[in-house]
C-alpha cells in the first residue's frame, strides 16, 4: 500500500509526468472552482439574508474571508514545499513554492483591499490600525514581497530555490509570533473588529455561500498553482530532452 503510494508520488514528482498530468487537471479545477464561486457569489449577494447589525455590508465577507484564508494557505504551502525541497532535494517542491508566492501576494492584496472597503462603512475609516487581522495581513504582504524580491535578486535557479526556502522557513516560525504580537498590541487599544467573537451563530443561509466561496477559491487557487508550476517546470527543464521533444515535436 505504502509502496504503491511512494511509487505514485515519485512518478508525480517527475517533471514530464507532472507537466502532462497538470495540463489535464487544470480545466477540472477551473470549472469546479468557478462554479462554486458563481454559486457563492449569487447566493451570497441575493439569497443570504442581510446581517441584523451590518446590513448588506456584511456581504463583503464572501470575498474577504476566502481571500484572507488563501493568503495564509499559500504561505503554508510555500513553507511545507520549501521544507520538502530542502530535506529531500525535490526540485518540484521548490517550483511549487516559487509558483505559490505571487498568488499568495495577490490574494493577500485582495484581503487587504476588501478589508479596507468593508472597514469604511463599518468603522468610518478606510484603515483601522486597531484591527489585528488587517495589520497581520499587511505584514503578510511584506513577507511575500520579501520572498519574491529575494528570488528575483538571485540569477541561478537552484541557489534562489534554496535561499528562498531558508527565508520562508524562518518566516514560517515567525508568522504565528507576528499574529500573536499584533493581537496583543491591538488588545492594548481596544480596537473594533469585523468578525464578532462569540456573537450569535451564523445562519445557514449565510454560511453555505461562504463555505462554497472558500472551497471555490481553493479549487481556483489549485488551478492557478498548477498552471504556474507548469511554467516553472518548463523553465527549469529547458535543457532537457523531454522539453525538446515536446516543443519541437509539436511544432514540427
Amino acid at each position: 500500500m505504502f509502496r504503491h503510494m511512494w511509487i505514485f508520488l515519485h512518478k508525480l514528482a517527475s517533471p514530464p509526468h507532472f507537466y502532462g498530468l497538470a495540463a489535464k487537471m487544470i480545466p477540472w479545477f477551473y470549472v469546479s472552482g468557478l462554479l462554486l464561486i458563481a454559486y457563492g457569489t449569487i447566493a451570497g449577494l441575493f439569497y443570504a439574508p442581510a446581517d441584523y447589525q451590518q446590513g448588506d455590508a456584511f456581504r463583503i465577507i464572501y470575498v474577504h474571508v476566502p481571500a484572507a484564508y488563501l493568503s495564509m494557505m499559500a504561505y503554508s504551502i510555500m513553507a511545507i514545499s520549501a521544507g520538502i525541497g530542502l530535506i529531500w532535494r525535490m526540485k518540484l517542491a521548490h517550483a511549487v513554492a516559487a509558483a505559490a508566492a505571487p498568488l499568495g501576494a495577490w490574494f493577500t492584496f485582495l484581503a487587504l483591499a476588501t478589508g479596507s472597503i468593508w472597514g469604511r462603512p463599518m468603522w468610518g475609516t478606510w484603515w483601522e490600525w486597531g484591527d489585528p487581522r488587517l495589520t497581520s495581513e499587511l505584514i503578510m504582504l511584506f513577507l511575500y514581497f520579501g520572498y519574491m524580491s529575494l528570488r528575483a535578486a538571485i540569477d541561478e535557479t537552484s541557489k534562489a530555490d534554496k535561499a528562498s526556502a531558508v527565508l520562508i522557513l524562518v518566516g514560517a516560525v515567525n508568522v504565528p509570533i507576528i499574529h500573536f504580537s499584533v493581537e496583543w498590541w491591538s488588545s492594548l487599544h481596544q480596537g473594533p473588529t469585523l468578525v464578532r467573537e462569540g456573537g450569535p451563530a451564523i445562519e445557514t443561509a449565510m454560511l453555505y455561500p461562504l463555505l462554497g466561496m472558500i472551497l471555490g477559491f481553493t479549487l481556483f487557487f489549485g488551478a492557478l498553482l498548477l498552471a504556474r508550476v507548469r511554467a516553472e517546470v518548463l523553465h527549469r527543464e529547458r535543457r532537457s530532452r523531454w522539453v525538446r521533444n515536446l516543443i519541437l515535436g509539436e511544432s514540427a
Binding site: L143, L167, I177, W184
Partner: protein, 230 residues
C-alpha cells in the same frame, strides 16, 4: 606563538569574536555610523513634530525603538560583506569548526559592536524625550533583549543576501517584517512602563523571543551562508 592543533569549540568561537572585534576597532566608522544614525533619527522627530513636551513623552518609546531598529538594520549589511570581499568567508565555511558556531560568533561580535553601544547611548536620548528614570530602566532591558534578537534575526538576512547586488535594500525588506514582533513588544512595553502599567508580560515575551532566535538563527544563518557561497 603556536596554535593548538585541534582548537576546541570555545576557542574557535572566541577566535571569531575576537577577530571581528579587532576589525571593528581598526575601522571605528563601521561602529560609529549606526550610532550617529540612531542619535540623528531621534533628533528628527522633535524637529518634525514640534517641541511640545507632552507629545514627545508619548512618542518617545516608539521613536527610540524605531531608530534602534533602523540603525541595527543599517549595520547588518557589513556583517559578512568584508569577509566575502577578502575571501575569509570561504575559509570560515571550510574550517573544521561547526558553521553555526561561527555564525553565532559573528552575531555576538556584531551585537557587541552595534547593539550594545546603542543600548548604552539610549538613556541619553530617553532623557531628551523626558522619560522618567524607572521607564529608562525598562527601556534599557527591552533594548538589550531586542537588539540581541535583531542581530540574530539579521544574521540570517545578512547571510542570505551576502554577495547580491543591491543586497542592502533587499536585506531591509527581508528582515523588517520578521522584526515586527520585537518592535511591537519592545516599544509597547516601554510605553506601558511610562504609563505606570505592568511590564512583565512584554519583558518575558522579549526574553522568550531572544531565546528562540538564539536557538534557531545560528543554524539558519549557517545554512544560508553555505547556499550563498556555492
Amino acid at each position: 606563538m603556536t596554535e593548538p592543533a585541534n582548537p576546541t569549540l570555545w576557542q574557535g568561537f572566541a577566535a571569531v569574536v575576537k577577530r571581528d572585534l579587532l576589525l571593528a576597532y581598526k575601522r571605528p566608522g563601521d561602529m560609529l555610523n549606526p550610532l550617529f544614525f540612531f542619535a540623528m533619527v531621534s533628533t528628527l522627530f522633535p524637529l518634525a513634530i514640534g517641541p511640545a513636551g507632552d507629545q514627545l513623552k508619548l512618542l518617545g518609546p516608539g521613536v527610540v525603538w524605531v531608530a534602534a531598529l533602523l540603525s541595527v538594520l543599517l549595520s547588518l549589511n557589513s556583517m559578512y560583506l568584508s569577509d566575502l570581499e577578502d575571501g575569509s568567508l570561504d575559509q570560515l565555511i571550510l574550517s573544521p569548526q561547526p558553521l553555526p558556531l561561527i555564525a553565532l560568533g559573528k552575531t555576538v561580535a556584531h551585537w557587541l559592536v552595534s547593539g550594545f553601544p546603542l543600548v548604552l547611548v539610549s538613556p541619553l536620548i530617553a532623557i531628551t524625550y523626558q522619560m522618567p528614570t524607572e521607564t529608562i530602566g525598562v527601556m534599557v532591558v527591552t533594548l538589550t533583549l531586542g537588539t540581541i534578537s535583531l542581530s540574530l534575526l539579521g544574521s540570517v538576512g545578512a547571510a542570505l543576501t551576502v554577495g547580491l547586488s543591491r543586497g542592502n535594500a533587499l536585506l531591509s525588506l527581508l528582515v523588517l517584517p520578521l522584526a515586527m514582533p520585537v518592535l511591537i513588544f519592545g516599544a509597547r512595553t516601554v510605553a506601558l512602563a511610562a504609563a505606570d502599567d505592568a511590564v512583565s508580560a512584554g519583558v518575558y515575551f522579549l526574553a522568550a523571543y531572544c531565546m528562540l532566535a538564539l536557538s534557531f538563527a545560528p543554524f539558519a544563518a549557517a545554512a544560508a551562508l553555505k547556499i550563498s557561497n556555492e
